[in-house]
């Protein structure tokens, strides 16, 4: 049930509108209920071939030899595609906006970096014949030690997952192995806080699980072009990615999509389009490449897992005075979009609260698992879980009602946020008040009277003195991103200085066999009083 609270912030709106604000029926509803909405796979093409990929059985291995002779002779096989057949067999998605280095092949050549990585693509008359040919491909692997834990991956001597980033971390600003946020002096504030609470949080990977799996159908079109029916969530992203990988002008392609059976972030990576088009180019026939459900679940990119450590200082009156965060994004074997998730996450710190001292280090870490990508709430969902569990614990620690605790610490108009921009147009307090009202959760009068539009700014608008990390290298003229359309000369790559991993409490074993139940950990640091 949904209720519009038009009474709140009414003075900031003009509600005298014709179409806006109406619950008008969806333009696509009639198509949906009659089954006539056209998804990428709802196109029947004459003589369509089927593409399937041979996936790595190893999490980390050198490929010694690939033998496709028997597969090539298998019935119904039209074409075997190897990495060498891919014109530009190295890419990273955000290279289109010059963010990050090319680090991922379409088809692995000398090494596989996760179980399920595509090595060979087979185009055949039928799916069955493609499956039969897959069984005949022989791949000789030399297994390498694999790393699956983000903190293990940062230890000296850890296996190098992705040689483009030999430290197993994405490189920020050509300098750092993490994205950082510095606002005020968190260490000094922690030293004088009434209570300090340090906790570890672990977000799971998540599969997007759209009911329609990833896929594309590519077909030779008139005048040397290719028509591509696609499930992509980002049409031009996919067009430009295909143009780069296949080394042809982008107007070679006519992409048609726009009606997609759920995405949630899982259909940005342009995994099926390049191989489907290449298959069509090499066979002259329409080619479909659609993930099966197990492929979608295990080898389609998930939301990356995140591990987050939060150390907070809180005063007896409930004011949070310092928040120090270290977060690790598990990017899997390649960058995809996790590099940006870390930036977005750093900007999100310390959550929707005005905390005068904030310190954040956010790492994008490579491990030998399926590369992660964007998902609904990208870069933020896990951090919100951590922050909000932490806020509940802090409220408990100081004996405050958790709703009132949030209102007390909520950011308000005019406050300075940790990424050094003034908070405007805030509404956290009102959300808490209305949710409390709906849930019949009692709030004291002073908290009912609080407002996002009152009592912000002033001393809360100040950027506090922030100590610099003298030990760290300085980058003088940071150029983090430019669009590829800027035609910048390629930037010079420098090795980032390695900083020692900060000392942390030992993480509990991630296996349920030695459970990481929060209870004992929480009680062990519960009430660490400094005075």
């Amino acid at each position: 049930m949904l209720e519009l609270r038009k009474d709140i912030f009414a003075d900031e709106r003009d509600d005298n509108l014709n179409e806006i604000g109406k619950g008008t029926q969806r333009q696509d509803m009639l198509g949906h209920v009659t089954g006539t909405s056209s998804f990428f796979n709802d196109h029947k093409l004459q003589g369509m071939l089927h593409l399937k990929v041979v996936r790595s059985t190893q999490a980390h291995a050198r490929i010694r030899r690939i033998d496709t002779t028997e597969a090539e002779r298998s019935a119904g096989v039209r074409r075997i595609i190897r990495g060498a057949d891919v014109p530009v067999n190295l890419n990273t998605l955000l290279s289109l906006i010059n963010f990050g280095k090319d680090d991922e092949p379409s088809l692995a050549v000398d090494k596989v970096r996760y179980k399920g990585e595509p090595i060979i693509a087979i185009v055949a008359d039928s799916e069955r014949e493609a499956f039969e040919a897959i069984a005949k491909v022989k791949i000789d692997y030399e297994p390498l030690p694999a790393v699956f834990d983000v903190e293990d991956a940062l230890k000296p001597g850890a296996p190098v997952v992705n040689e483009t980033y030999p430290k197993n971390t994405f490189t920020y600003h050509e300098t750092y192995d993490h994205q950082r946020l510095r606002f005020g002096d968190a260490d000094a504030a922690l030293a004088t806080a009434d209570h300090v609470l340090e906790q570890r949080y672990q977000m799971s990977p998540i599969e997007h699980a759209p009911t329609e799996t990833n896929g594309a159908i590519a077909a030779p079109d008139t005048n040397g072009r290719y028509v591509v029916y696609t499930s992509t969530q980002a049409l031009f992203f996919s067009v430009d990615t295909c143009a780069k990988i296949l080394d042809v002008p982008s107007n070679t392609f006519h992409f048609i999509g726009g009606t997609v059976g759920g995405g949630f972030g899982g259909k940005v990576d342009t995994l099926t389009e390049p191989l489907a088009i290449l298959g069509a180019m090499l066979t002259g026939r329409p080619v479909r490449y659609m993930f099966g459900r197990e492929e979608e679940m295990q080898y389609g990119p998930p939301r990356g897992a995140e591990r987050i450590y939060i150390k907070d200082g809180v005063m007896r009156d409930g004011r949070v005075v310092a928040r120090k965060i270290r977060a690790y994004f598990d990017s899997g074997a390649y960058t995809r979009l996790s590099s940006y998730a870390a930036v977005k996450c750093a900007a999100h710190l310390p959550g929707p609260y005005t905390i005068p001292n904030v310190y954040g280090d956010v790492y994008c870490v490579f491990t030998n698992r399926t590369p992660a990508t964007a998902m609904r709430g990208f870069g933020v969902t896990a951090m919100d879980f951590a922050i909000e569990c932490q806020m509940d614990k802090l409220a408990h620690l100081v004996g405050m009602d958790p709703m009132e605790f949030r209102i007390l610490n909520a950011y308000r108009d005019g406050d300075m946020k940790a990424h050094r921009r003034e908070a405007k147009n805030t509404a956290l307090i009102e959300c808490v008040q209305v949710a409390a009202e709906k849930a019949k959760w009692p709030l004291r009068e002073e908290f009912k009277r609080a407002s996002s539009r009152k009592d912000g700014g002033g001393s809360r608008a100040v950027i506090p003195p922030t100590p610099t990390d003298s030990s760290r290298a300085r980058s003088t003229n940071p150029v983090q991103q430019r669009t590829s359309y800027d035609r910048l000369p390629p930037t010079v790559t420098r090795e980032p200085p390695r900083e020692p991993p900060p000392t942390v409490p030992p993480p509990p074993s991630p296996r349920p066999a030695a459970p990481s139940h929060g209870a004992t950990r929480f009680s062990s640091v519960f009430g660490t009083r400094r005075r």
């Binding site: 179409e19 333009q27 050094r420 459970p515």
Partner: protein, 340 residues
């Protein structure tokens, strides 16, 4: 007594759009000779309602009924560039582009109408039902259809418009993280109520109450779809989902919808939602975007409710019955906290 009830809360905010490459989107709006408009986009509708919300934005801006607008998405030959449908950017970024394009088209439409009515375009207004008339003199009126016919066959005008919306890239200071990550933020607070079985660790959702602030609910039914479905996904993330049940050890990954756990229709609970509207200064009609943040408050609210019910903190997602049971056993039984 094996089942314990508890309530937990969480409050969050969420940035709208990305700070990547300016995060641009374009739109083209044009009229056919009958005064019916087409919006050409390359943006994707993956269920969130892109076609529908941009249709309403276009109709409102043009001043025509929504039935007179049709949105065509995702053809790279006809739709202009868009970064894509993610990062809660659709309503805000694409909506702004459509608004700009519709404004330009409206300008031409009003000029054409002015020529037909022999008045100054500034003296005209739309009635939202397909007519344009002189302000204060509704009888001096012309239909958008007649305007379109005149523009096409008599005046030689194209009733069309181009729009782009871009937030210039904000460089990130490598030392301090200083940046402008977003121009506006949506907000939410959610209360979750759960039952926890202290012998099995099973958690059942009882109800949710929430308040979401979204700038403006351009279409409350579409907003409701996002918030109800998104909260379901939040419950799913909190209690059920993972493609790696023993993360970081990569074993026993689910292969089908029986092994990949998501709440079924028998696991859902009542959810009472309030929507607040504090318009974003740069949003189309003030709108932000509800698409992603709707799930986020649910995860911690559920975790906090479990603590309230049985006194254990589960900081690892998903909060499986096993983790709850292990924690309860480790503390020597359930310790219900004061009811709230």
């Amino acid at each position: 007594m094996t089942r314990h009830r508890g309530r937990g809360i969480a409050s969050i905010n969420y940035p709208i759009g990305m700070n990547l490459g300016g995060d641009p989107s374009q739109a083209l709006v044009h009229s056919n000779p009958s005064g019916k408009f087409t919006v050409a986009l390359s943006s994707i509708d993956l269920g969130q309602g892109m076609k529908s919300v941009t249709r309403q934005i276009c109709a409102e801006t043009l001043g025509v009924p929504v039935e007179d607008v049709y949105v065509d998405t995702a053809d790279s030959d006809t739709g202009p560039h868009c970064m894509g449908s993610f990062a809660s950017r659709g309503t805000h970024r694409v909506g702004n582009a459509v608004m700009a394009a519709a404004r330009e088209a409206r300008g031409v439409m009003m000029e054409a109408a002015a020529e037909e009515l022999e008045v100054n375009a500034a003296d005209l207004e739309t009635d939202g039902r397909g007519n344009i008339h002189v302000k204060g003199a509704p009888h001096r009126s012309i239909s958008t259809k007649d305007v379109a016919i005149a523009a096409q066959f008599k005046q030689g005008k194209t009733i069309s418009g181009r729009g782009i919306f871009l937030v210039p890239l904000s460089e990130v200071n490598p030392e301090t993280g200083e940046m402008s990550p977003a121009t506006c933020y949506a907000h939410a607070c959610l209360v979750a109520e759960v039952d926890v079985d202290d012998e099995t660790g099973e958690v059942a959702m009882v109800r949710m109450d929430s308040a979401y602030e979204l700038g403006r609910a351009l279409n409350p039914r579409l907003v409701e779809q996002q918030l109800v479905g998104g909260a379901w996904m939040g419950v799913s993330h909190a209690l059920y989902e993972t493609p790696e049940p023993y993360y970081p050890e990569p074993v026993h990954g689910p292969r089908d919808f029986v092994e990949y756990l998501m709440p079924g229709p028998g696991d859902i609970c009542p959810h009472d939602i309030a929507v607040l509207e504090r318009p974003a200064p740069d949003g189309p009609f003030g709108a932000k975007g509800p698409g992603e943040m709707c799930a986020n408050p649910v995860l911690p609210a559920v975790a906090n409710a479990i603590f309230n019910a049985v006194g254990v903190r589960i900081d690892d997602l998903p909060i499986t019955p096993e983790k709850v049971l292990r924690a309860i056993k480790a503390q020597g039984g359930a310790r219900p906290q004061p009811r709230r």
